[in-house]
């Protein structure tokens, strides 16, 4: 042991160890606290940054050359992560849209406390471009029966024509044979709404006819259900008059534009009951 301590390289090593530990402690302070605000840290910072960059670049090059599989795996993993995130994002977007639609329906339902509704989603559509029939995911188990009114916050959709245990088919306002009794909100004149009005192959709206000869119908008038016939509760919004045709035989015809986009309809309310006392 004595020989060891007499060994000059060992003494030099010992001194070097002490000095190096001091140096390490100094650089540690330089990184962590105010003492490091001194000259050393400032001078070392760009060098340190450069060395780090060199290390990353050189190391990355050799990994790319000698271990491409690791990079491929990482690439694959990242790709999967991106796909997963994209799917989550799409799902979130879809959920937000659904939330907005249902909120709109809920607001409508709350604004009409005299009616009882069943909310349903569209699960089927006719291939007919006019979309005269849609299928909803609510049926007799939810209390749905034939001829019940189907509406949205944007207006009347149609009437239930067929009911299954958990589905129902709805004849929409686009159906040629669909007729509902309506009234002009401003004048209270009643008429019959039904049948599509086309011009040059383009559907402009539905026809409003059987209006009294003295009826003062104007463009922009709001059309609501009259309640006659009992199928549709009174006062439901249907659409707006976009054109008036004076037939000259004591009656008026008008074209009513509906706000509902039947091609993109996704959710609807089925009116399963009306409390007349409140209404």
């Amino acid at each position: 042991m004595r020989k060891l301590w007499k060994n000059r390289p060992m003494w030099i090593a010992l001194i070097a160890i002490v000095l190096l530990i001091v140096l390490a402690a100094f650089t540690a302070n330089g990184r962590n606290d105010a003492a490091g605000d001194g000259l050393f840290r400032n001078a070392a910072a760009p060098v340190s940054g450069f060395l780090h960059t060199v290390q990353q670049e050189v190391g990355g090059f050799f990994v790319r050359v000698f271990a491409p599989s690791a990079l491929q795996e990482e690439n694959e993993r990242l790709r999967e992560t991106v796909l997963e995130q994209q799917m989550k994002l799409a799902l979130l977007d879809e959920t937000e849209k659904e939330n907005a639609r249902l909120s709109e329906l809920l607001n409508f339902a709350q604004a009409n406390p005299n009616m009882r509704f069943v909310t349903a989603s569209v699960i089927g559509r006719d291939s007919n471009p006019y979309i005269d029939t849609i299928t909803l995911n609510a049926g007799s188990r939810s209390g749905v029966t034939e001829k019940m009114a189907v509406i949205t916050a944007d207006g009347v959709v149609g009437r239930v024509s067929e009911v299954g245990p958990n589905w129902c088919r709805v004849k929409t306002m686009c159906d040629e044979k669909m007729r509902i009794s309506v009234m002009v909100q401003r004048t209270r004149d009643e008429g019959m709404l039904g049948g599509l009005y086309e011009e040059g192959g383009e559907i402009l709206g539905t026809l409003l006819y059987y209006l009294p000869g003295k009826a003062d119908v104007r463009v922009g008038d709001v059309i609501r259900t009259s309640g006659i016939g009992g199928f549709f509760p009174k006062g439901l919004y249907v659409g707006t008059v976009i054109a008036v045709n004076d037939g000259g035989k004591g009656t008026h015809d008008a074209i009513v534009s509906m706000d509902i986009d039947f091609l993109h309809l996704e959710d609807a309310l089925i009116v399963v009951g009306v409390d007349e006392a409140i209404g």
Partner: protein, 162 residues
């Protein structure tokens, strides 16, 4: 002098591996320090001065490139070389023992790094010690044996590794 010349590229290669390659290839943080293994092998086979020089400059270079505390690795490597030298001096022959000696020396180096880390406020992480430090230490120790064999094929210096 001629002997030290071929040690320089070997040491640079070890630093290169430690600083540039292994950080990217290590699995779960397990990463042997080839510079330390080389310094220990040089101590066992050639002369202690070689081991000290490799430990000092190799450690400093490694610190410069990839360690936050400049000089810590160099100090730890020097401690390991000193301990290895102490063992080698006492044992006359020890081809098989070299791994055990290297393990103890590496442990001392790791202990120094560990104590230093605690002293500057690092959190004691027993799991990390078991999962990364000790496996790395085993690999370092095992790497010493083939390096000794390689050195032995070139050198006739120290009689320990025969």
């Amino acid at each position: 002098m001629k002997r030290r010349l071929w040690l320089i590229p070997a040491a640079l290669l070890a630093v290169f591996l430690d600083a540039f390659i292994l950080p990217f290839l290590s699995q779960n943080g397990i990463r042997p320090l080839f510079t330390l293994s080389l310094a220990l092998a040089a101590t066992a086979v050639t002369k202690v001065q070689d081991g000290l020089l490799i430990a000092f400059f190799g450690g400093l270079l490694t610190d410069l490139f990839c360690n936050p505390y400049l000089g810590l690795s160099a100090a730890a490597y020097l401690v390991a070389v000193a301990i290895m030298y102490g063992f080698v001096r006492k044992a006359e022959k020890g081809r098989a023992l070299v791994i055990l000696f290297a393990a103890v020396a590496s442990l001392a180096a790791e202990a120094l790094i560990f104590i230093f880390s605690l002293a500057i406020g690092a959190r004691f992480d027993a799991m990390r010690l078991l999962k990364t430090t000790l496996p790395s230490l085993v690999l370092e120790s095992l790497a010493v044996f083939p390096l000794c064999a390689l050195f032995r094929s070139r050198e006739k210096g120290n009689s320990f590794f025969k």
